[in-house]
Symmetry: C2
Subunit: 408 residues, 2 copies
């Protein structure tokens, strides 16, 4: 028999470590003849676009080690949501017919809450139709918004990148003896976990970011400007960290979206950082700049958290064994036993308790004023950004696996 | 006697290594009792805002080692240009009177071509008035646009960051099986050196960036769109690297500047990347995103080039000895003897040959079509991004020197 794995949703630097964990578990257990990878998520199954990972392990030198240290998604991704209406079940029939034909006993899907919806639907369909194929989920998302798991693979690395970058941007901001505001926009449309990680940038000597704004609390522009103005009376440089998803009390994004037009007559959608930059400039009459921490948040393997990669690999291994043990419709999870010394344990959880749910930052982990995080958040975050990722360098640059199969 | 040092212009990750080089040279030679730092460039002299670096070396543990690995500017910066009209020479008189009062025999200025203008003027004034104070320049700029030097400290590190980031952004871009264009905007208003470094991101399996556009060649929008469309017919993902300073044949920046207004009624100045994103979307009707590699280009110590730091330190040491030997009005430079094995030699050059000049990328290092660099550029760049920077980490994050003296 064989197994198959696919990846879905947005990239993280840890998702390939989970794939590596599966491959290692199969190498150790010799349970399956082949591990197939479906290229571009569940669409890869439907389009019968596969690669033979067991073969690649043999032909590409150091395949597993390099896979662990390759960012984004080795198998590519998709944003395809399989339909809910199971009566029109041709898609399900097609998927399971292909899996059956390829002698697949276990199918693994690595992704976020949308992907867990796919795991839920496929496993439910298989059970209902007594198809003996196990479907098991492996979590990942830089947003850290999955329920039932202490934190998601990919988040710790993104948090480390954000914290280090904010620290470096602050160093850059301190050099001029003039009044200035630096706004740093961080990913997270609905959950503020990653923006919260900017608090780790602080040192005894550097208070940046001075304020932190998460989407979980309505953004009060007047108060933000008032607080910033008050700080600028005491010192030159103010650094603000904001989530891309901050909204006012009526739920409107802080954005210059859908109004105004440029030289070419188009409407633009500017982000929260750019919008706040213009508002601050107007209100404070000082130098204001905004910086968008870009997709490197989810792609910067060069600053990944070693612990994150190790946990992602372990979740891949565990998921493999849950499937071997006959579990289906579950996701591999980890539970934190202690912050210090940091300790986690692994188990599985029914995926219907996880799919399509989101885990916001608890209100009690945000300060009363809504412009900072509490010590509880710091204790939670700190263990997640530890450990060197062990990236291999070649000619001065990170050496990543080639992904010709994605370049179609 | 004492010496004094100041830093000026924009930050780089290597500028503090040159400062460390000066300190080490003084430690070894015991030439001066004190090394003073003027805070915020030449303004620190005029405002008599000094710190005693010899004292900090004694009181802050591992001061020099940590200084080498601290990004941005330990002594802060300024953008102040001292006046040319030497007949109204109160500023010059004040500067030299303060230096004299502090028993400063040698004054060092670490910066780019504007800063070398200051070195030029101060040294000329001292000579003219027979003031026995030596003024020596130490180069730095991520733009790599100083003449008479093979490359500038700070450039190699920025180049390494750009190349690694472009490689990682490309990995992120490859994951979806849809037609898309990713535009990466890189710093360099007038010189394309740093944008050229994006070419180092390429591997045998990954051609990104597919095209590279430097400010040295007029940007032909129609051709760029035509070439991109042709590529999209052959493959899904196109990655373009552009300099922030690209201009059309009439010298106009590719920007949405000065026209259109947003929800708040303001005019924005959008960068080349954003402008090209909108133009490409309109023309190609595919997914287009633009990414601005932000100030981390000049602040990301975590991905600095070890060789760059080492050369920056060496230039600081050499400058110190040139001053000790009585030289003034010079800048420490390095000349490349060979690419492979890489070898440089150090010397000094009259600063009036350097100040206010710029060194563009030679046309022959850009391909005929004006959308890529040649192998000559690659041979030039590759040695500059080598070597681990040796950053110290504490609690998972880079450990930088505190800069309380800048937080005024």
């Amino acid at each position: 028999m064989n197994c198959m794995v696919a990846q879905s949703g947005g990239p993280t630097v840890a998702i390939n470590a989970s794939l590596a964990g599966l491959l290692r578990a199969n190498q150790e257990s010799k349970a399956y003849t082949k591990v197939y990878g479906a290229v571009n998520g569940i669409l890869g199954v439907l389009n019968e676009n596969f690669c033979d990972l067991t073969d690649q392990m043999k032909t590409i030198p150091d395949f597993i080690e390099r896979l662990i240290h390759t960012p984004a998604m080795y198998l590519g991704s998709c944003r395809y949501k399989i339909p809910t209406d199971q009566s029109a079940d041709t898609i399900y029939q097609k998927i399971f017919s292909i899996l059956n034909q390829m002698k697949v006993e276990s199918f693994f899907y690595i992704g976020g809450n949308d992907s867990m919806d796919t795991v839920d639907k496929l496993s439910a369909y298989a059970k209902k139709h007594e198809i003996p194929i196990r479907v098991v989920g492996i979590p990942k998302t830089i947003d850290n918004d999955l329920v039932k798991i202490d934190h998601t693979p990919g988040f710790g690395s993104a948090a480390r990148y954000v914290a280090a970058s904010v620290r470096e941007v602050a160093m850059d901001a301190y050099i001029y003896a003039i009044k200035s505001v630096t706004i740093i926009e961080i990913m997270g449309r609905d959950a503020g976990w990653l923006t919260a990680a900017s608090a780790l940038a602080r040192t005894e000597a550097s208070p940046a970011p001075d304020y932190i704004y998460l989407p979980e609390v309505p953004f009060d522009l007047d108060k933000c400007i008032r607080d910033t103005r008050a700080l600028l009376e005491k010192k030159d440089t103010v650094v603000l960290a904001i989530s891309e998803g901050i909204r006012d009390k009526d739920g409107n994004y802080i954005s210059t979206a859908d109004q105004g037009s440029d030289i070419f007559g188009h409407n633009h959608l500017s982000g929260a950082g750019k919008a706040l930059e213009h508002l601050m400039k107007e209100a404070l009459k000082v130098k204001v700049r905004s910086i968008e921490i870009n997709v490197l948040q989810r792609a910067a393997m060069h600053l990944a958290s070693g612990r994150d990669l190790q946990e992602a690999e372990e979740l891949g291994k565990k998921a493999f064994h849950y499937a071997l043990d006959g579990q289906t419709g579950v996701m591999a999870i980890l539970t934190r036993n202690a912050d210090q010394p940091y300790e986690v344990s692994y188990s599985s959880c029914p995926v219907h308790e996880i799919a399509n749910q989101v885990k916001p930052v608890p209100r009690s982990w945000i300060n009363d004023e809504g412009n900072d995080v509490t010590d509880k958040m710091l204790s939670y975050l700190l263990p997640l950004i530890q450990g060197d990722p062990g990236v291999r360098y070649k000619d001065g640059l990170p050496d990543y696996l080639p992904v010709e199969h994605l370049l179609g």
